[in-house]
């Protein structure tokens, strides 16, 4: 398959096409919790969903948090404006997620997301809804967001393609921030070519986001693949044996594979979480209980009491991260934790950039198959964070990466992740395009098939 967008645009749609899509999607959504809001499209475009932490004018945007319920943005995020201006897409709704992006399994929210391939299992997170929507709809693209793996993880668990660009390539204006130096808006789709189309539409400098850039994006094709041994230490044996078969297949397609050791890569998890929590704890301070969404009623209370009361609306993981982030930023430990993490980030960028000069880094996307919701619920925070080992290094270092299925274990997909050098975004997309010529993705649902 080259492009579902082009195929959709070339087809004659039945008159009641969107009525049927809306009806079928609403029915499935009541079980899977992919969407927080579903809208029946008015235009005749390709169905498009947008993660609930990206603002769409006039549509409730909550980042799946109770503290933002009722918040109606009076503006579009730049990424939304750029897509709407093409008049090629029809907005279908806002997708579910872990509250503010705090989670890897899509269960830190009021309506836990369910994997369409096995409804007892998690869909991955935090862009859980975006991945489920992509797995459900034949013609559709999802705008998602990743801070530490929030695109790759759900894309892998739901068997779709998930692309996270180099930090700064897609404007963050209108994104409800989690961690400013790590957040990246990206795309999920059923083909790499559709991801390329969306990157062309959304990339580029935005005067409203001073961290956005116009740096030229390259399309370097490397035939050398690097495997970092320390990343594979935590991977489930069943996944490893399949991944090794995949590597053999790639060798057969002309790729060379080199194993290297990079001990410091293990520090990327604590360094990432320390930076993310420090930034999150300041970002969440803007939800004061009188400006966005939820309103505390008693204005006679002193400010600090009013503020504290409003913050009771946060979920447990958000509270945990605010407390930790506040601690990490305190003067007595700032150098020990926060500054040290920034140094580690710099060091890892240097080391990974050297490796990526003439190669891609390859690994499984997730170290485990999607766990059952009950299993994920009982995992400790440290176990949760450790599950991100394969997606965090690229996210911490702002490197473009793409996740795509390479095999199946029963009904569940096994996905791999390709990481490229900064601004070689088209390069990683091209890798997935090449792979698709040799492999047919399987989808259980094809809502909207014509």
């Amino acid at each position: 398959m080259s492009s579902y967008i082009h195929e959709f645009e070339s087809k004659v749609k039945p008159k009641d096409y969107y009525d049927k899509v809306y009806e079928e999607l609403s029915k499935v959504n009541s079980r899977l919790n992919a969407f927080n809001v579903i809208i029946k499209p008015e235009q005749d475009g390709v169905p498009l969903s947008i993660k609930d932490n990206i603002c769409v004018k006039g549509v409730e945007s909550t980042a799946s948090s109770k503290i933002l319920r009722g918040y109606i943005p009076p503006f579009n995020a730049t990424v939304v404006d750029r897509i709407f201006k093409t008049k090629r897409f029809s907005f279908l709704g806002k997708t579910n997620m872990d509250e503010f992006g705090f989670g890897s399994f899509g269960i830190n929210c009021s309506k836990p997301a369910r994997n369409p391939l096995d409804e007892d299992r998690v869909a991955g997170g935090s862009s859980s809804g975006a991945a489920i929507a992509t797995a459900l709809l034949k013609y559709h693209v999802a705008i998602a967001e990743s801070t530490g793996g929030s695109i790759s993880s759900p894309a892998a668990f739901c068997g779709v393609i998930g692309f996270t660009p180099t930090y700064s390539v897609i404007s963050r204006y209108g994104l409800i921030d989690y961690a400013n130096s790590l957040d990246k808006i990206g795309v999920m789709a059923r083909s790499a070519d559709d991801i390329r189309i969306m990157l062309d539409i959304t990339k580029g400098k935005d005067p409203r986001d001073p961290t956005s850039t116009n740096t030229k994006i390259t399309d370097l094709h490397h035939k050398k693949l690097v495997v970092i041994d320390e990343l594979l230490d935590k991977v489930d044996d069943k996944i490893m044996s399949q991944f090794n078969m995949f590597i053999d297949k790639l060798k057969g397609l002309g790729y060379t594979v080199e194993n290297i050791s990079l001990k410091e890569i293990e520090l990327s998890i604590p360094a990432y979480y320390l930076i993310a929590m420090a930034e999150a704890s300041t970002n969440l301070a803007k939800f004061t209980g009188f400006k966005y969404g939820f309103k505390a009623e008693d204005f006679s209370k002193p400010y600090n009491d009013f503020f504290t009361e409003a913050r009771e609306e946060f979920g447990t993981e958000a509270k945990r991260r605010i407390i930790l982030g506040t601690f990490i930023r305190s003067a007595s430990v700032r150098d020990k934790y926060y500054s040290k993490s920034l140094i580690i980030r710099g060091e890892l960028i240097d080391r990974l950039s050297k490796i990526l000069k003439d190669a891609f880094i390859i690994s499984p996307t997730m170290p485990i198959l999607p766990p059952k919701i009950s299993e994920a619920d009982s995992m400790s925070p440290v176990q949760n964070y450790a599950a991100d080992i394969l997606t965090i290094p690229a996210n911490l270092c702002g490197l473009p990466h793409i996740s795509f299925p390479y095999s199946y274990s029963g009904s569940l997909p096994l996905s791999a992740q390709i990481v490229g050098s900064q601004f070689n975004d088209y390069g990683v997309i091209s890798f997935a395009s090449e792979w698709e010529k040799n492999f047919k993705y399987k989808f259980k649902y094809n809502i909207g098939e014509i």
Binding site: G70, I72, P74, Y167, S168, S181, P207, R208, P210, T211, E266, L267, P270, Y273, L274, S281, T288, G289, F290, K291, Y292, A296, F299, S300, K301, Y303, F306, F307, T308, E309, R311, E312, F314, T316, K319, R320, I322, I323, L324, T326, F327, K336, S339, K340, L342, I343, I344, R345, G346, E347, I349, D350, S380, P381, V382, Y385, L396, G398, Q422, F423
Partner: protein, 90 residues
């Protein structure tokens, strides 16, 4: 982390927890900090602090006044009184 230290942290974080939540989050935070302590094994870098992963020009846009087309819509997410946002006492 001592009980008093944790209470002070909750106060400056402006987070209120019931006793059960407090015990469980305190235990989580101790475990997480123990895990985070591993960053201190690393001290051989001459790198500067990497506040961003890519080189950012960081130049802010020009500070120009722009008229927002729909003032009422802008204020629709707040409680207002005579065009002002109503908030708590400072």
């Amino acid at each position: 982390m001592e009980g008093e230290e944790f209470d002070r942290l909750l106060k400056i974080s402006r987070i209120k927890l019931d006793e059960k939540e407090k015990q469980s989050i305190k235990r989580d935070i101790e475990n997480i900090l123990e895990y985070f302590d591993s960053v201190n094994k690393f001290d051989e870098s001459k790198n500067k602090l990497a506040f961003h992963s890519v080189e950012i020009n960081g130049e802010p846009r020009k500070d120009e006044v722009e008229k927002f087309e729909d003032r009422d819509e802008l204020l629709s997410n707040t409680k207002t009184y005579r065009g002002f946002v109503v908030g708590p006492k400072i």
